[in-house]
Amino acid sequence: MTVRNLDLAAAAPPRPMSRLIAPAALLALALATPLLSDYALEIGFRLLILLTLAEAWNLLAGYGGLVSLGTASFVGVGAYVLTGAVNQFGWPYWAAIAAGGCVAALLALGVSKAVFRLRGLYFTVATLALAEALRLFMVNHQGFGGATGLFLAVDPPGLRHLFWIALSLVVITTAVMSVATGSRFSILLRAVRDDEDAAAQIGVRPFRIKLAVFMLASFLMGLAGATQGLKLGAVEPYGMFGVQWTVNVLSVVIIGGQGLRAGPAVGAVFVVALSEALADYPALHIAITGLIMILVIRYAPRGLVGLARTRGQRMAPLS
C-alpha cells in the first residue's frame, strides 16, 4: 500500500522559514479579500473548502495511516446539521457551523468501535461503506427531506461573507494541523501509523490515538461541509453525501503529496486551477485528472511537493 510509503522529511521539524509561509499566505489572502472580484471569490471559496477537507484527510491518512473513503459522510452530516440548526432552532451561522463539526466528530466517535476493528484496506472499505450507507439512508428516510433534501429557511450570507468564513476555516485547520503534526501527539500518532502493535508494546494506546485523530479530522470535515451547505442554501443527499467529495479530496492529497505538510495546499491549487482551465470540457477534465493521477502515483508517489523536494535535494550539491 502506497500510503505507508511516507516521507521521512515529515518526521523532521520544519525549518523556521517554512513555518511562516502558511500564516503569511493566509494574511495576504485576508487583506486582499475586499479587492477580489466575484469570480475570484467563487474560485477562492471552492479552493478553501477543498483545502480544509484535504488537510483533514491528510492528517487522517498521511499522518495517522487511516486511509478513509468516508469523507462524504462527514461533509454531509455537517451540511445537514447546519441546515437543521438554522431552520429548527434559528441558530446563528457560526454556531450552526460549529454544531456541524461537533456532530461529525460524534459520528466518528459512534462508528469508531466498528471501523477500528478493521485495519489497513479493510478500514478503508468500511469507511466507504459508511458513506454509502448514510447516503442511501438520507435518500430513503423522509425525516430529512428524503431525496429532495432541505432548503435553508433564511437567505445565505453574501459571497464575500462566505469567503471570510471559509478563510477562517482554513486558519482553524492550519492551527490544528500545526499542533497535531508538530507536537508530541504527532509522535504518538506516527508511531501508531508505522506499527500499531509495536506502539502498544511501548505503552501507546492505539485506539485512543486513532480515535482522537479520527474525531479531529471529522470535526474539520463537518465544518467544511456545513460551510458548503450554507453557501448552497439547500442540501440534498446525492450532492452532500456524494462520493465526489471523497474522490476530490483524495486526488488533491495524492497530487499534492500525502503525509507532507504542504501537499494539500499545492494539490488544491492544482486541482482547482485545472478544473477552471477545463471548465468548458467536463469530459476532458475528468479524463485528464485521471491521467494525472496515474502519472503521479506511478512516477511521483509523494506528489508534486515530494517531487519538488527530491529535485531540490538533487540540485543542492551542485549549487
Partner: protein, 513 residues
C-alpha cells in the same frame, strides 16, 4: 515465599491445529535474570508474546507483581512496566531514532517536560550505543542497530521487567560482549529480565536460571550451570532426542532399504556421471533486505537424484536462500542456473515451470480450498488421467490426506497440513523439490512420518534440497550437507563425515565451547 515479579501459570496457546505453547509455567523473581532456550519453533517467541500481551493465551494465567494481568491489553501491560523487544525488529520506520524512544516517553507521561524526556531518551541511546544516530530516520538503520533500538525503546518505557527476544542473534564476538555488559548494567535499573537467546555465551554469562522449552512444553528448568551441562538439553538442541527410536522405525517401515546412507552415495555418483549439468546451481549468490546482507556469496550445486541438506541456525540465511532459488527474492549478485541455463532474475512462476517445486516454510495452504483442490492446483494444465495418477501417488504416500480429501486444507493438524504442502509440491511432477523447514512446529512423531515419506521419495530417485533446523534428521536423509553461518557455507561435504565433524556441534550450537 515473596510475591514473584512475573509469574505465568500453565499457559496454553493454540493456533488452529498447532499448540505453540503447552502448559508452560515460569516464575521470575525480583532481581533475577531468567533465560529461556530451546530449538527454533519451540514456542519461545510465542511465550514472550503471551507475557507481553500481544497474544491472549488460550488457557492459563499471568500475574505481574501479584496482580492478574491475563486480560490486560499489551498497552496496559506496558504501562504497568512490562517492556519487550521483537526478535525481528519493528522500529517506527518513518520516524527518527530519538522519536522512537520519545513515543514511549510521551505515552507514559503525556504532560511531562519535553526537555526532560529528550534528555532521558538521549541517555538511553548513549547507553545502547545509538547516540550518534539519534536524528537518523530509522529506515536507514542497519539490522544490528535496529536490534539495539529495540532494547533502547523498551528501556524508554522505564520497565520493571524486560523481555529480550533474541537480541544477540547475528552479533559478532565483541558485540556479544557489549550486550552482556549492557544486560549486566540493566540489573540495577529493572527488577527482572527474561532473556530468550540462541547465543549461549549470553545465556551462560547473564542468566541465573534457565527454562528449556521444546515443542511448546517445558523440557527442563534449573540453574544455568546444571541445565547447560545436561545431556538431554544438548540432545534437544541438536535434535537427537528421538534418534534411536527413529532408526528403528525407518528400518521396519522400509524393508529392502539397507538404511539411508549406504545406498545414497552410489545413487548420487551414478547420477552425476550420466548428466552434464546440475539441476540447480548457485554461483556466488548474494542477497539481502535493504541494508541487511543476508547471503554473502553462496555456491551450491544439486545434481539429479541427489539429496542436499542446508543446515544452520536462525538468521543464518537459509530461508532467504530458498527464496532466492524460488525467484521470490532477486539476488544482488551471483547467478542462478537451472540445467546450466542462467535464470537469475526470472519471476517465480517461470522458475516453477522449469520443474522446481517449493515447499515453503509456513506451509501456505489455501484456506478456502479442500485438501484435494489444494493438491490439484499445481497440476491444472495436465491431462485428467495423469492428474489422477499423480493424485493417487500422493495419497499412497500420505494416506491421511486421502481420508480427509474433502476437508478444508487448514482444518487439519499442523503435521497433516505439512503433508499437504509436500503433496502439493509433488503434484507438479517436479525435477527438484525445495523443502524449507518442513519440521518446524511439528510434534516428533509427525516429523518421523514426514521424514519417512521423504526417505521413500529419495528411494524413488527424487532430487531434493532440504533446508532444515533439525540436524540429525537431515543428516540421515542427505547425501551432501552444507552448514550455513552468517550467510555463507561454513562447512560442506558428504553427510557421514560431517556428522562426525566436531565443528558441526560448534557451529550449530553457536559458541557451545
Amino acid at each position: 515465599m515473596s510475591v514473584a515479579l512475573l509469574e505465568a501459570d500453565a499457559l496454553v496457546m493454540r493456533y488452529g491445529g498447532v499448540t505453540a505453547t503447552d502448559h508452560v509455567s515460569l516464575r521470575l523473581n525480583r532481581g533475577e535474570v531468567l533465560g529461556v532456550i530451546g530449538p527454533n519453533g519451540a514456542g519461545k517467541s510465542t511465550l514472550i508474546g503471551l507475557l507481553g500481551g500481544a497474544l491472549r493465551p488460550s488457557e492459563g494465567r499471568i500475574r505481574f507483581d501479584g496482580e492478574d494481568v491475563t486480560a490486560l491489553a499489551a498497552s496496559e501491560r506496558a504501562r504497568k512496566g512490562i517492556g519487550r523487544t521483537y526478535q525481528i525488529p519493528r522500529p517506527f520506520l518513518d520516524m527518527t531514532v530519538r522519536e522512537n524512544l520519545l513515543a514511549a516517553r510521551f505515552s507514559l507521561h503525556p504532560f511531562g517536560s519535553g526537555a526532560q524526556a529528550r534528555q532521558a531518551c538521549d541517555a538511553i541511546l548513549e547507553r545502547c550505543g545509538l547516540a550518534d544516530a539519534a536524528q537518523w530516520p530509522c529506515r536507514e538503520l542497519p539490522l544490528l542497530r535496529r536490534k539495539r533500538l529495540e532494547v533502547a525503546r523498551a528501556l524508554a518505557l522505564e520497565p520493571k521487567v524486560l523481555l529480550l527476544d533474541e537480541v544477540g542473534a547475528g552479533l559478532v564476538d565483541h558485540e556479544v560482549s557489549e550486550l552482556i555488559e549492557l544486560i549486566g548494567s540493566l540489573r540495577s535499573q529493572v527488577q527482572g529480565i527474561i532473556v530468550i537467546e540462541h547465543v549461549l555465551r549470553v545465556v551462560r554469562e547473564c542468566c541465573e536460571r534457565l527454562l528449556v522449552i521444546h515443542f511448546g512444553k517445558p523440557f527442563a528448568e534449573g540453574s544455568t550451570k546444571d541445565v547447560l551441562a545436561s545431556h538431554e538439553v544438548a540432545a534437544v538442541y541438536l535434535g537427537t532426542a528421538h534418534a534411536t527410536q527413529r532408526d528403528h522405525d525407518a528400518t521396519t517401515a522400509l524393508p529392502g532399504d539397507t538404511t539411508g546412507n549406504a545406498t545414497a552415495a552410489p545413487v548420487a555418483t551414478a547420477a552425476t556421471g550420466a548428466v552434464r549439468a546440475p539441476v540447480l546451481e548457485l554461483r556466488g549468490i548474494c542477497a539481502g533486505y535493504g541494508q541487511a546482507r543476508v547471503l554473502d556469496g553462496v555456491d551450491l550445486a544439486v545434481w539429479p537424484g541427489q539429496v542436499v541438506a542446508i543446515l544452520g541456525t536462525n538468521g543464518a540465511g537459509k530461508t532467504t536462500l530458498s527464496q532466492v532459488i524460488s525467484g521470490t527474492i532477486r539476488p544482488t549478485a551471483g547467478t542462478l542456473l537451472v540445467d546450466g541455463h542462467d535464470v537469475t532474475g526470472l519471476p517465480a512462476h517461470r522458475i516453477a515451470r522449469l520443474g522446481l517445486a517449493q515447499c515453503l516454510e509456513g506451509r501456505r495452504i489455501f484456506a478456502p480450498l479442500t485438501v484435494e483442490e489444494n493438491l490439484l492446483l499445481p497440476a491444472r494444465s495436465v491431462a485428467a488421467a495423469v492428474r489422477a495418477e499423480r493424485l493417487e501417488r500422493v495419497y499412497a504416500l500420505f494416506p491421511d490426506l486421502k481420508e480427509r480429501r474433502h476437508h478444508a486444507g487448514t482444518a487439519m493438524s499442523g503435521g497433516q497440513q505439512q503433508m499437504l504442502a509436500i503433496g502439493r509440491a509433488l503434484m507438479s511432477q517436479p525435477r527438484l523439490v525445495v523443502f524449507d523447514e518442513i519440521s518446524l512446529g511439528l510434534a516428533p512423531i509427525m516429523m518421523d512420518r514426514l521424514y519417512l515419506a521423504l526417505a521413500q521419495l529419495r528411494q524413488a530417485g527424487m532430487t531434493m534440497l532440504i533446508v532444515e533446523q533439525d540436524v540429525e534428521r537431515a543428516l540421515d536423509l542427505a547425501d551432501e550437507v552444507h552448514i550455513m553461518e552468517y550467510g555463507r557455507f561454513a562447512l560442506s561435504g558428504p553427510a557421514a563425515p560431517i556428522r562426525r565433524d566436531p565443528r558441526l556441534r560448534h557451529l550449530y550450537v553457536g559458541t557451545a565451547d
